[in-house]
Symmetry: C2
Subunit: 251 residues, 2 copies
DNA sequence: CACTTTATCTCGTGA
DNA sequence: TCACGAGGTAAAGTG
């Protein structure tokens, strides 16, 4: 086996790796770098999870472990975007050697959850330093849609005036509250992608609450790029309205 | 740079890697193995996504690319469980060299989405063969809870009879439909973790729909390990009921 | 395909 | 900390 790193005395290296290391060598690199680097481990392993639910990967099989300095811990297999087992951040990684086998224990405090991995065959271990993008931004979110309507309410309807945004009620927060040209209160619920029954239900809940509280008629408008046909029936049954808006057209 | 693999003529190797490769060398390994192996790429890169939404990682920074044979494509940073950018399977990976820079393009067909990554500094590339667990099972899911109630309805209430499971309605699918000892229809909605207002709303929707359709009184019971106080108020306000059940106690 | 719901959802935000 | 809702949700199941 061959240890390779690009060390100078000044700085910790960005990249270190071990090929077919002994458990001891692997353990040393993991413990040395787990709090600053992303650790990658490739080998034959079994794994086990217990916490909010419970699951077991008892077949010894080549898998990939990824540990991040924030406590993210993942066991990936050959398919799927999601790891097969994981602990979300913040969790704590404990590495040890049990009966000669490299053993990883990721512990999440609350809720208490544990992922345990045993790696009898270690093919590869690496520690790499990764960056974090600041001011990360996604365009075309629901918030962008709400903003666009605030700055131009006629997207929804001519004569509409926006009264409030994120209007808090006992039954939830209303995306936008407005008044139409005839003076009716209008509840607006926005969705960035196709609306389903839950979205209609949400709108209905707000409208019912407000019309009861204000004891007058309240309109409800669902704003989304599309709506499922069942949801549309449901919406019309309760006298609610749908307004088609593409969030991407507003970017 | 140093190419290392454990090749014999018989079989493709489970592990290959390149340290500080040229773009050409990296490209070769990627194209050779992308359909069978998980590809790991560590280097300084920028990335870009456009599809359902849009986002850009324009700062050149060390990141980790993971590509799986099923088309999963992820760009990971130093924190978070979720990749910063990704394409879910099935997507297609195209690798090329543009103006001397290794460029990856992951394309998802429907909805049309593209992730593009440019890697001017390639520190490390690896291809590893991973397994897939068959008969994978999680214990303590909502389905387990529903099953437990089907085989022993008294968990919810003495004298309860289960009539149907996954009962389809226009407003959605009802987890369990039952009849109580007095002959009333009972809608049961199960949650494996704490119930919030949305769960109550869901139950209310089913109960309203059924009581309208059957034109008689219908009870609604929310079964969950706990319920938020706001949700409980809301539940009681509509005459619905809550039954505390720990899904883990049923494993 | 489209539709619906679950999830060890994760993640951000605001009380 | 907890509660709540969005998410490029992903993944699974059904018609």
């Amino acid at each position: 086996m061959d240890i390779t790193s690009f060390m100078n005395r000044e700085a910790t290296p960005d990249l270190e790796y071990l090929v077919d290391p002994s458990p001891t060598e692997a353990l040393r690199l993991i413990n040395l770098r787990k709090s600053t680097h992303v650790i990658l481990i490739y080998g034959d392993m079994t794994a086990f999870y217990e916490g909010r639910a419970k699951s077991q990967l008892e077949d010894l099989m080549p898998r990939l472990v990824i540990s991040k300095p924030d406590g993210t811990f993942m066991v990936h297999e050959s398919n799927k975007e999601k790891p097969r087992l994981w602990n979300p951040p913040p969790s704590t990684l404990y590495a040890s050697i049990n009966l000669g086998v490299l053993t990883l224990r990721s512990v999440r405090a609350s809720p208490r959850e544990v992922v345990m991995v045993e790696i009898p065959v270690i093919r590869f271990v690496s520690a790499v330093r990764l960056g974090i993008t600041l001011n990360y931004r996604v365009f075309g979110t629901e918030e962008d849609l709400v903003n666009a309507i605030v700055s131009n309410p006629s997207i929804v309807e001519d004569g509409l005036q926006i009264i409030a945004r994120e209007y808090h009620t006992i039954v939830g927060d209303i995306d936008l509250l407005g008044k139409d040209s005839k003076g009716n209160l209008v509840v607006i619920e926005c969705k960035r992608s196709q609306a389903g029954p839950e979205a209609v239900n949400q709108l209905k809940r707000y409208v019912e609450h407000l019309s009861q509280k204000e004891s007058k008629n309240v309109r409800g408008i669902l704003v989304a790029p599309s709506i499922s046909s069942a949801a549309y029936h449901y919406l019309r049954q309760y006298g609610l309205e749908f307004r088609r808006v593409e969030p991407k057209s507003l970017i």
